[in-house]
């Protein structure tokens, strides 16, 4: 005879299995007009997609992750990928995805008209959607003459006063890639070594880097511009300011948010519509959601950015950042950059 306890055990298993089957059953493919996006950029992206859906009726499904993780996922999925559009927060990563054959060329007049040639790949496999500048930030309370070149951060004056983001981060790698392009590998290594010699404090978040300046943990740092307006919105007297670097030479290091259509995109037409919308009608929404500068030079940046003034940006390096990325990683390692 069966004991009641054992019957209950069997019943529990049956219930759990049924629940499981129900959970797996909900896994069916979506039909109707929809676009699937893999995005390494996730600040306020939901509102942007909602606006697109409201305007076009095309649903947007998206998943987030770091740029390299998403690239690995695409590589593994191959032809079976559900992804239509890949969006990255860094120029090197979109170029690496293109080099791996994951992105298809797009022939669109709307895109080539809106995005300057320096900000899209030569074969139109990817297009920048916004400009992100990595600049020198300094304490307005303790620094009167901030550095004006990336190399100057290695001056002995900034010893123990410098905050940097670790070399694991794409922003650091891309900045060093641009130094390699302009200065050559030996000189770039020397610059990075001089930063390391200043015993920098490594913080893996630009927001925390700016807060560290405000708290007095460091006086100068490298950070992307859009983090500052976010903090200024919370506290208008936040004691950190931008020093635009390399204004007499190559221009401030320019990186981009970029996107491309996957080679195996199941919804190519709808995906191209989304990409075109982001580059045209949606330019302001996309850029302003994160206080970035629009990729299209004819679209005005968010009003919060006017206080930062005009600047020269390093347009020439953007398309080279992917190619130089492995060398940048080597230089950072060789210099002992954490």
């Amino acid at each position: 005879m069966r004991s009641p306890r054992r019957t209950r055990f069997g019943f529990t298993i049956a219930v759990v299995l049924a629940a499981l089957a129900a959970a797996c059953g909900g896994d069916s493919k979506n039909d109707g007009a929809s676009v699937t996006v893999y995005t390494g950029r996730h600040y306020g992206i939901e509102g942007v997609f909602d606006e697109f859906t409201a305007a076009t009726g095309i649903e947007v499904r998206f998943t987030t992750g770091s740029d390299p993780e998403l690239r690995e996922r695409l590589l593994a999925e191959g032809d079976n990928t559900p992804a239509d559009l890949v969006m990255t927060a860094d120029a090197a990563n979109i170029e690496l995805a293109a080099a791996a054959g994951l992105l298809a060329s797009v022939d669109s007049e709307a895109l080539t008209a809106a995005i300057p040639s320096e900000l899209r790949s030569a074969d139109n496999t990817w297009f920048a959607l916004s400009r992100r500048l990595r600049v020198i930030m300094y304490s307005t309370e303790r620094v009167t003459e901030p550095p004006t070149t990336y190399a100057a951060l290695g001056d002995a004056e900034w010893s123990g006063r410098l905050c940097l983001r670790p070399s694991t981060h794409p922003y650091t790698q891309s900045l060093v890639a641009s130094l390699i392009l302009h200065l050559g590998e030996d000189e770039a290594l020397r610059v990075v070594e001089s930063w390391v010699a200043n015993d920098p404090l490594y913080i893996n978040s630009d927001t925390d880097i700016l807060k560290a300046i405000a708290a007095g943990d460091c006086d100068v740092a490298l950070a992307n511009t859009y983090y500052l307006p976010r903090l200024l919105a919370e506290d208008p007297s936040f004691p950190v300011a931008i020093s635009w670097p390399e204004q007499d030479s190559t221009g401030a290091h320019l990186n981009v948010s970029a996107a491309g259509i996957t080679t195996s995109s199941p919804n190519r037409e709808a995906a191209i519509r989304l990409l075109e919308w982001l580059a045209t009608t949606g330019q302001s929404t996309f850029s302003d959601a994160n206080f970035e500068y629009p990729a299209d030079p004819n679209v005005a940046p968010a009003s919060a950015l006017t206080a930062f003034g005009g600047f020269v940006a390093d347009l020439a390096a953007v398309r080279e950042l992917g190619r130089l990325n492995p060398r940048a990683v080597e230089v950072l390692s060789a210099a002992g950059y954490e």
Binding site: D27, H42, E69, R73, G78, D217, S333
Partner: protein, 530 residues
């Protein structure tokens, strides 16, 4: 009397073997995919890494592993001794609370303390390997605590009373009798702590500690070379396996009777002052490991509510909680089912069976992201050969995610269930077989009921582990499937502590319930590892 049943065994062995080999191969496949990369080493990576970061990584990994394992041993063993040997107010509640740090992910304790201490210590002072070790110790010591407590309880009064009658004081009885007898249990607990430290990537990065596991991520994402990253990950697996084998080798020859004592030990009643001293110590540990994180998280959650900044990645708290729970339930079912099957099949297949079952446990010694890549490659291969018909794609599916998680956590279920099955008397199995019962019937009616509490304990431990799991879920989750840990990761990667607070609290709450279930099962005689 020994009963051999050659005819029954051989007649039915073929399907059994086929199931066994197929199951272990399936579970081990992601690890095999990764380890096979070592056949063709990337020499340029090794020479470059050796000249630059590798020595520092090895130094940091060893320092961290020694400190965390040492700290967990002292804290876990000491506290376990206090709660078993002495009587003091609220002993049961305090015992449960002392295990609850297991429910707090290291990366959550890490960011809470990083923020709390960056005021007094400064942004530079707070990023140190010692604070990282401390954050890991206070979240990992419960592994040692659980094993040590079970061992101290099982020892009962006999051995210690014998020592006392020989004129040894209570303190010396601890060092001379209880501690040596608990050594296998302490080793098992330390092994779990060691695995967690070696494979941690969330906590170390918060504190700027460059371990080998962090190096795996660096190589993989810095150069895009998945093979080179896998080779580096093998260094971790090999060192973990070596350390565990070394401890087993040293212990060989020293055998301790594990037969439970007839008489449970009665706790020593202490003087008032000492009693409050012990309670104070326990409360201090609980405060650092659980109370302060919960208070700060609640504070952030309220801040976020006030500022209207409590937005989530997609959907609300319920969406994330139900995602997490669905995932935990599904993975528990697969792991426990798989663990039972492997454990039952392995014990009928001698040393080869044991070897294969060990192979299926290897995933636990791999950093999560590496298992994720291995699983990704395996799933993509299944998709290419069309393993599942009708164009169903495994990569990015719920089933694919459960598969990947199971290959990493199968070991947790298997170890506990295997230990539970160890206690089934071989004679009971033999009697059932002579009475004509088939192997499956014996398993269902004799072996499994005996291991029931161990199944509950394994499920509880799995729940705790799976709630915290991040890298595999992050990389393989299907669309719109954002677990609590994913939400926490997205928020903390932007230093948005307020937004990470609510999901962290839910994670901790579910984990604390699971810890309660685990403790109850252990008190009813469950085992968590052999």
């Amino acid at each position: 009397m020994t009963v051999t049943l050659p005819s029954i065994a051989t007649r039915r062995s073929l399907p059994g073997w086929a199931t066994f080999v197929a199951l272990t191969a399936l579970v081990a496949s992601p690890v095999i995919v990764v380890v096979s990369s070592i056949v063709d080493p990337t020499e340029s990576m090794w020479s470059e890494l050796w000249a630059t970061r590798l020595p520092g990584m090895i130094r940091d990994t060893i320092t961290l592993a020694l400190t965390v394992v040492g700290g967990s041993l002292v804290l876990g063993t000491g506290l376990a001794w206090l709660v078993t040997a002495y009587d003091f107010p609220a002993r049961r509640v305090i015992t449960w609370l002392l295990v609850t740090p297991l429910a707090v992910p290291g990366y959550v304790a890490g960011f809470v303390w990083l923020d709390t201490l960056s005021g007094p210590l400064g942004a530079r002072g707070v990023r140190s390997i010692w604070l990282c070790a401390a954050a890991l110790v206070v979240t990992l010591y419960p592994y040692v605590f659980l094993f040590a407590r079970a061992s101290f309880k099982a020892q009962g009064a006999d051995a210690r009373d014998a020592a006392r009658t020989l004129g040894v004081g209570p303190t010396r009885a601890f060092f001379r009798v209880a501690l040596p007898m608990a050594r296998p249990a302490l080793a098992a607990g330390s092994a779990l702590v060691l695995m967690e430290v070696l494979t941690d990537i969330g906590t170390v990065r918060l504190f700027n500690v460059s371990t080998v596991a962090d190096g795996v991520m660096r190589v993989w994402f810095g150069t895009g070379d998945r093979g080179a990253a896998a080779e580096l990950a093998c260094l971790l697996v090999v060192s973990a396996a070596t350390l565990i084998a070394l401890e087993r080798g040293l212990r060989r020859g020293a055998r301790f009777s594990t037969r439970p004592s007839e008489r449970p030990s009665s706790p020593i009643v202490l003087r008032r002052g000492t009693r409050f001293g012990i309670v104070g110590l326990c409360v201090a540990v609980i405060a650092v490991a659980v109370a302060v994180p919960i208070v700060r998280l609640t504070d952030w959650a309220l801040d976020a509510r006030r500022s209207g900044n409590a937005q989530t990645v997609a959907g609300g708290v319920w969406h994330h909680t139900s995602s997490s729970l669905t995932l935990v339930i599904a993975t528990c079912v697969v792991c426990v089912g798989g663990g039972i099957t492997i454990a039952l099949l392995a014990r009928r297949r001698g040393s080869l069976g044991r070897l294969l079952s060990r192979l299926a446990s290897l995933g636990y010694a791999m950093p999560g992201p590496v298992v994720a890549v291995g699983a990704l490659i395996t799933l993509a291969a299944f998709d290419r050969i069309g393993l599942v018909p009708n164009g169903v794609v495994l990569v990015g599916s719920f089933a694919g995610l459960v598969f990947a998680l199971s290959t990493r956590f199968m070991a947790v279920a298997f170890q506990g269930i295997d230990a539970g099955l160890d206690r089934v008397a071989p004679s009971a199995v033999a009697s059932a077989r002579t009475l004509g019962a088939r192997a499956s019937r014996v398993a269902w009616s004799v072996e499994l009921p005996a291991a029931r509490t161990s199944v509950v304990a394994a499920t509880a431990l799995l729940t705790v582990d799976l709630m915290k799991e991040l890298p595999i879920t992050l990389l393989l989750r299907p669309f719109g499937f954002d677990s609590l840990s994913v939400w926490v990761w997205q928020a903390t990667s932007e230093s948005l502590w307020e937004q990470a607070a609510v999901p962290s609290l839910v994670m901790v709450a579910v984990g604390m319930l699971a810890v309660g279930a685990l403790l109850a099962a252990l008190d009813r005689g469950a085992e968590v590892a052999s």
